[in-house]
Symmetry: C2
């Protein structure tokens, strides 16, 4: 490797910085390449329809720990997180490809389990598994999934089209997946210190399900479609609500005023956060892996969105100069911080 001259650590840029750095000079040459890097999915123009393409890689030891992740759940989740990206473009996922690298530590039976989860997600979301790759890995399990969806012309929703005066909306509830992960990590430590102690996870089952077996908000995309509501911008919440608000604001050239009281957090999540000495709103803003949809709507659509189930209005799109702010329950206004920072680890 020829980095003798200068060596810049990948962590100086971080994941998003590195992607920007490597892809900023890219020019799209094919007329069918309608939108490239920078949104939940790429957009390809096929004449009548648009194809949406999204891809994610999950790596053992980084994205999941097989000590507490059943392989069926892992297969299910690996599919769902990709479908979530297609829904976040207001599209309908239709096909996936699944590429897997494994060492011989994995048996045919464990691969069956993983694929059971993949197939269950395909069935539930009406998506076809159409291809992939299967290869050897020197260490652990790596899953790379590409989802392909359909979008109608004029109905695909990007991140960079929020306008001043629009309303910020969020689906479902936030922070639960993050706390589910903290519970699993705690139980892992308990197990490592004494393998005879059996974990009791019954009362925390909602939080654990949110991290191990999330769902994509297909249901709400369908509700919006029936109501003929097209958001002005949309993104799914994978890295954390605050990070996604930043993506929409930065790419749209706007600011935000988010009401803390408008951020939906379930009671189970609040109780568990306090139990861990954490602030529930911090878990909701920075936790990530919620796979809810963050979107903006034109104020003229307020009546449509106001009575939709499981959708909450939590703020307003402001001018860029205003910054990205939160109005706290205590009545203060402060800058929102995006902490969706992921470290590249040691080899």
């Amino acid at each position: 490797m020829s980095d003798d001259v200068k060596r810049t650590d990948v962590n100086d840029l971080g994941e998003f910085g590195l992607i920007d750095h490597l892809t900023k000079s890219i020019v799209l040459n094919n007329p069918s390449s309608k939108y490239g890097v920078g949104d939940d999915a790429a957009v390809i123009d096929n004449g009548d329809m648009l194809s949406l393409v999204s891809t994610d890689m999950l790596v053992e030891g980084i994205h999941f720990d097989l000590m507490y992740t059943p392989l069926k759940h892992l297969g299910y989740k690996a599919v769902v997180v990709n479908l979530s990206d297609i829904y976040a473009m207001n599209g309908i996922p239709k096909q996936i490809t699944v590429s897997i690298a494994i060492s011989n530590r994995f048996s045919v039976e464990t691969m069956n389990e993983l694929y059971e989860g993949v197939k269950l997600a395909c069935k539930r979301y009406n998506v076809d598994l159409v291809g992939g790759d299967m290869t050897s890995s020197p260490k652990g399990l790596i899953i790379s999934i590409t989802a392909i969806g359909q979008g109608e012309k004029g109905r695909v929703v990007y991140r960079n089209t929020a306008k001043k005066g629009d309303l910020f909306c969020i689906t479902g509830d936030l922070g639960a997946a993050y706390l589910g992960l903290q519970i699993l990590e705690r139980e892992r430590q308990v197990y490592l210190s004494n393998p005879n102690i059996q974990p009791d996870l019954g009362k925390e089952s909602y939080l654990i399900e949110r991290i191990l077996k999330p769902e994509a908000r297909k249901d709400l995309i369908e509700v919006m479609r029936k109501a003929d509501l097209i958001p002005t911008s949309m993104i799914d919440v994978s890295d954390g609500l605050a990070s996604e608000i930043f993506h929409i604001c930065t790419q749209s050239g706007v600011g935000a005023m988010i009401e803390e009281s408008g951020v939906p957090i379930k009671q189970e999540t609040e109780i568990q956060a306090i139990d861990f000495n954490m602030d529930p709103i911090t878990c909701a803003l920075s936790g990530g892996e919620d796979y809810e949809l963050l979107f903006t709507v034109d104020p003229k659509d307020l009546d449509k969105v106001k009575y939709m189930p499981d959708i909450y209005i939590m703020g307003e799109v402001t001018e860029q100069a205003h910054g990205i702010k939160m109005h706290t329950k205590g009545g203060n206004i402060h800058d929102l911080k995006a902490q969706g920072w992921k470290h590249f680890g040691n080899d």
Copy 2:
């Protein structure tokens, strides 16, 4: 992991067996899913056109050794092997997504090199990089690329449509990439035993280029298109010529009679094989990574194909009951063996 009851080693099935096992029960439900697992690429019906989708994962320590693989070449090759799959369907690649997992052993500068290779391949093949993922890896470099291409209805070519009486054709030359790899492995051993010895690879540059920087046969797909020649079946040579002949024959329900004298092998390849005490025809049949196109044509198209540059007729499609045979230069007829076997390694 719940493989307490029964544990079947993945190597009992092998790569292709495991894919078959995991995907055999899949039913395609979406009308747009025209063809799924089992060919070089999946086929998606978009109304006017067909989309072709192919995906490959390359893992450090399995598919490449960074000791002798410049990262720019690796980026280039990772793209080309995917484009080759789209050409093997008689399609035109248009977009790719690139997902990468790295540990912090890799610097921003080394990632620049990798992406230079990716971008060079995109430029040369007129393909747009439209998306991807960038994540952390606990060990080494993993690259997963998905290529998306366009196919015209009625002109997409599958593996399972060869007919008795068709002619087997092959592009370019075979075995060179495999011998290039053997040279690099030899130099690696020399280096490990004495790091002061500088490798002299000048006279073997063709063989080394074939393994480090292969090209996809875009040129010959264009030649065939101009001549209005549509093969009756086609596949690209990634795992080895014999293995690909088996894929076409098994999936088409036919047999083959291949002329040993018809298998194109360059003089450099022959000389190097003999130097390594290997049989050149074995290198050509089982070496792999040639990324040439193996295809069959209807005898009525013989005149079209006969004078095409760099395309060679090397046998005939026979009845399935006849088996898959080779007619040797010595005048014998024996069964062809497919040795495209890849082992899943230890964790």
